[in-house]
């Protein structure tokens, strides 16, 4: 039996100490009426056979496509050392750092992660992570609702639609008023957002670069919302945050982000990383773990979980959130990734990605019948309008081994002909040239 080390002699000796004759006796308290009606599972396999089966399954996924798919989830280069470091057993086989003296590695790493992401987003405070960028928006909204004791949430339609659906699921029983402000050709309608804000507004929620790739400045909206007493929430793209105006500089109170682009594989949707940062004034509303620096009884620097009175294990039903396990190892990957790239490496990644998008937009816009949806500044992705349904074009292109982007009609009725095209530093000019040539073919 793999992973169970007991020999027959061990088992016998242990049973004797316990004072029972058989293992089955240990389960005597479970009445026969509660015993399994079936337990119909296959027999186990060797490690070799199990691996072979999973390698076969892996081979039935198409990962050899040239892909311009992004929409919030990005294929950036991950340095090899990220894997090597985070696969150290001392990190990945540890539990939550409940015993700080035996967990200084994890704790210091989280403290450094908190420092790195707050610097990146220009904010004051960070927690140790939440599940993903979407649940981070939900938690941010709940922070604002608690802080302001108000119920209206004004959110732009340019926020990732998947996150907006998710927010709806979580708040369905909570008597909140969710107001979604429609986009204008992929741009946030700041004027309409501002108009929607009043004295009952708990928060405004925007995203920059937004779902359509537009880089936007929410400063004016944030100033206006703040004047009404609302909390300003922004969802950021952390790679781009290294080069574009930061959430902090715009006046955000809470900045969240999906951290997948910082060292995590796409892995079919998870595990990812919910980055969650805020101003000092809101830190006690923060969900989840936070690590703080302190000293030991001999005056040496050390790290502990802090402000725990916010959390479920102490406050139970009055906690700021129910979160317990978070994405600690993903936060460690993010930190290692940021350290390996460094300030310059991250800025180059962002610039190269934006440069590729600029090049691709120029190429694609030259195709007859293709227009760029929004001519404002974009980051590494942009939306184009095609002369026919994007779904059809996408299907034809997949047949040629290219995913040309994400058809927007699925989440934006009326944009059935539109495609969201994403570039990263990994794309070559040749990839983009072929994309343009074949797309022209297919139209």
């Amino acid at each position: 039996m793999p992973y169970v080390p007991h020999t027959t002699a061990d088992t016998r000796a242990m049973l004797e100490v316990v004072g029972v004759d058989s293992v089955e006796e240990l389960f005597a308290e479970i009445p026969q009426t509660l015993r399994p009606k079936s337990f119909d599972l296959p027999a186990g396999m060797s490690e070799m056979a199990t691996r072979a089966k999973l390698e076969d399954l892996a081979s039935r996924n198409s990962t050899n496509l040239v892909s311009f798919l992004g929409a919030g989830f990005y294929d950036h280069y991950v340095p090899s050392a990220v894997d090597a470091l985070t696969m150290r057993g001392e990190f990945y086989t540890a539990y939550t750092p409940y015993q700080p003296e035996a967990s200084q590695g994890t704790l210091q790493a989280i403290y450094e992660y908190q420092t790195a992401v707050t610097r990146l987003l220009g904010m004051d405070c960070s927690n140790a992570s939440v599940y993903d960028g979407g649940t981070a928006i939900y938690e941010a909204v709940m922070m604002a609702v608690r802080q302001t004791k108000r119920v209206k949430v004004v959110i732009s339609e340019t926020v990732n639609p998947i996150y907006r659906i998710l927010l709806g699921t979580y708040t369905v029983n909570l008597k909140l008023e969710l107001v979604t402000v429609p986009h204008v050709d992929g741009a946030t309608d700041f004027a309409a957002m501002e108009k929607a804000v009043d004295k009952s507004t708990a928060c405004v929620v925007v995203q920059s670069p937004n779902f359509f790739g537009c880089v936007e400045d929410a400063s004016a909206l944030f100033a206006a919302a703040k004047a009404q007493g609302a909390v300003n929430i922004i969802s950021a793209y952390p790679v781009m945050a290294s080069v574009i105006k930061t959430p902090g500089a715009m006046g955000a109170d809470i900045a969240v982000a999906e951290g997948q682009s910082l060292g995590l594989p796409m892995s079919f949707g998870g595990p990812y990383l919910g980055i969650m940062t805020c101003t000092k004034a809101l830190v006690r509303q923060m969900p989840g773990r936070i690590v703080g620096r302190t000293t030991d009884s001999q005056g040496r620097t050390g790290y502990v979980l802090t402000l725990q009175a916010r959390e479920q294990h102490i406050r139970r039903q009055k906690a700021t959130s129910n979160i317990c396990s978070n994405q600690a190892l993903c936060a460690l990957r993010c930190l290692a990734h940021l350290c390996l790239l460094g300030e310059e490496g991250l800025r180059r990644t962002a610039s190269a990605s934006i440069g590729n998008a600029r090049y691709a937009a120029g190429k694609l816009a030259k195709i007859p019948g293709v227009t760029v949806l929004n001519n404002g500044p974009v980051g590494n992705e942009f939306a184009i309008r095609l002369p026919r349904p994007a779904q059809d074009v996408c299907l034809a292109m997949i047949g040629r081994g290219f995913v040309p982007g994400f058809p927007l009609g699925r989440y934006y009725p009326g944009l059935e002909n539109c495609l969201l095209v994403t570039c990263t530093e990994k794309h070559s000019r040749r990839d983009i040239d072929i994309l343009a040539a074949w797309l022209e073919d297919e139209l």
């Binding site: 006690r284 402000l307 725990q308 009175a309 916010r310 102490i314 406050r315 009055k318």
Partner: protein
């Protein structure tokens, strides 16, 4: 054991009533139970508080507790010193660790005197 010029609640708050003003805090017994206080969340000046309802919360490293107002009225002052020095609640629960001053709008009902409070506090522990 407990100052006799104060009134108490079973949830371990005290009130010092002088004319139409009450000074409010938590008892030395309560701070001992909580341990080292790390944070006190107080209402803003001008807020209305109601006897028996929450007016704030208090945290230590391993515990958190809601604070219930012993009186009804308008908050006219809060103890700003607790923001930087929450340990005042541990050190001077009945004096320097006070939390808020309330201008009373109704007579408080059913508060305990020191002897009755001591009996309650001791009997439940």
């Amino acid at each position: 054991m407990f100052p006799t010029d104060l009134k108490y609640t079973p949830s371990h708050e005290w009130a010092k009533i002088e004319g139409d003003t009450a000074t409010v805090g938590i008892t030395s017994f309560a701070q001992e139970q909580l341990g080292d206080i790390t944070f006190v969340d107080l209402p803003s000046v001008g807020a209305q508080v109601t006897q028996g309802s929450e007016f704030g919360s208090i945290e230590s490293v391993k515990a958190a507790s809601e604070l219930y107002s012993p009186v009804t009225g308008e908050v006219i002052e809060v103890n700003g010193a607790l923001e930087a020095n929450p340990e005042l609640v541990n050190q001077e629960a009945f004096t320097g660790g006070w939390m808020m001053k309330v201008k009373l709008s109704a007579d408080p009902q059913g508060l305990l005197d020191a002897a009755a409070y001591e009996k309650t506090a001791v009997s439940c522990h």
